[in-house]
Amino acid sequence: MSIWEKMTSLPREIVMGLVLIAMIIPAMNPLGLPLFTGDMSRAWYNTVDALPAGSVVLFDVGYGSGGYPSLGPGNIAAFHQMFEKDLKIVMMATALEGSMMYPLVMEGVKPEQNYGAVYGEDYVFLGYIAGGQTAMAGVLGDLKALVSVDYEGTSVDSLSIMDNVNGADDFDLVAYMTTAGGTAEGWVYQAYSQYNADVLGGCLSMMTTSIKPYYDSGQILGIMDGIKGAADLEFLTGHPGDAIVSSDILSFTQALVLIFILIGNVSFWMTRGKGEAS
């Protein structure tokens, strides 16, 4: 067996083991490289930045543990910006695990300590609402007919932030972060097509291409493109966190993947016609 034949089929354990090492090294020794921010995340940042203080945002925590490593850091950065701008945030979850993500995100933002925000006045979490698009339509339609308590069971009538919030017309912005294709499209259908609302969407990088058409046509005003978008938001808002740390990990792992792709292709062309058919 020639060297190229060996190179064309390296054992999976070797490839995967090297990838694991490539993740651990940069985590221990961060490089702190400069960051280029993408169009879509800058559009997200600018849309929020343009809102006057006191504007009300409807925010869907539409992901669970599977999406947390990618979307959690972005969510924290997004909330930093919103609290800093003195916006009021009405949060809900269309994902089953969304209500478990809420405390994790809030631990990262600490709105009481950092911004003097008060629960019930400046932000509220309505909890998980089942039904996907039905839940979205319910909240945007006649909110109080559907929701009467927040996620801890407190009556919404006793929370001042909800006094003037009855449906889509009272939200100045609808934003979501999700791992589900149906949720990403659903908010466009229910918020944009139904109420012509301003929508921002955050999703995993693998979904970005599929919801990009909505961004091009102005149905979504900004996209937070997975971990890259999260790093952009951390950078733009000036609150560096896990996403920027992960940039270094991405550098190492993806560089390694590129090397493997190169090996794969060179060895493929060198052995072409020799063993490929069998």
Partner: protein, 206 residues
């Protein structure tokens, strides 16, 4: 210093157990997988009950008895497990399907068809050369990729005009490449969170 918090240790164990599958299927992974299915189902039940309480029961408590119809329909879902009365579950399913379809297609025709076509029907000539080139590429991409999915007119896939759907296929393959590349980032971006957890919270070396 390694963590002494039992919660962190349990989490670290499950992180490593779930990762092990990528290298080889094994009994520890099987244990982790069964745990995962169990807790996911448990969590779903908890959220289901809370959902019924918050959005159904509270209404009934406030005297809106009409919500008891929703309770009846909800309970009928479980008729599917009965040998003779299984067909009763079709009533609530029919309700959910009608509502789900109605609520999505009424807007889909606007979001996915009208707005998208309107966005394509925009000037091809922009103020700068790059803008014009980009607009042209986008336009060609839209028209040719739609034409690729026309199945009842054989003629557009033959002869000289057959190049149009073919270009559509090539454009889509280029776009899929971009999607593939982004997915690589997506997966690594997700796993890095676990690495940071293991090193920071469990081993406490960063």
């Amino acid at each position: 210093m390694v963590s002494v918090d039992p919660q962190i240790w349990i989490a670290a164990f499950f992180t490593i157990a779930a990762t092990s599958y990528a290298f080889r299927d094994n009994v520890v992974f099987k244990f982790a997988e069964n745990t995962f299915i169990g807790v996911a189902a448990g969590h779903t039940i908890v959220m289901g009950v809370k959902n019924i309480r918050d959005y159904g029961w509270t209404h009934i408590m406030q005297g809106e008895m009409i919500y008891s119809v929703a309770f009846l329909l909800g309970i009928l879902l479980y008729a599917r497990f009965h040998r003779d009365y299984y067909w009763l579950y079709r009533y609530p399913i029919a309700f959910l399907v009608g509502n789900g379809i109605g609520i999505s297609i009424r807007a889909a025709i606007h979001s996915d068809f009208i707005v998208q076509v309107a966005a394509t029907a925009s000037p091809l000539i922009k103020s700068d050369a790059l803008g014009t080139v980009n607009a042209l590429i986008t336009f060609v991409g839209v028209v040719t990729s739609i034409s690729h999915f026309i199945f009842t007119q054989e003629k557009i896939h033959e002869g000289a005009i057959g190049i149009v759907p073919k270009i559509g296929r090539w454009m889509m393959l280029l776009a899929f490449g971009a999607s593939f590349g982004n997915t690589v980032m997506s997966r690594f971006g997700m796993y890095q969170g676990r690495i940071i957890f293991l090193l920071r919270e469990w081993l406490q070396i960063i």
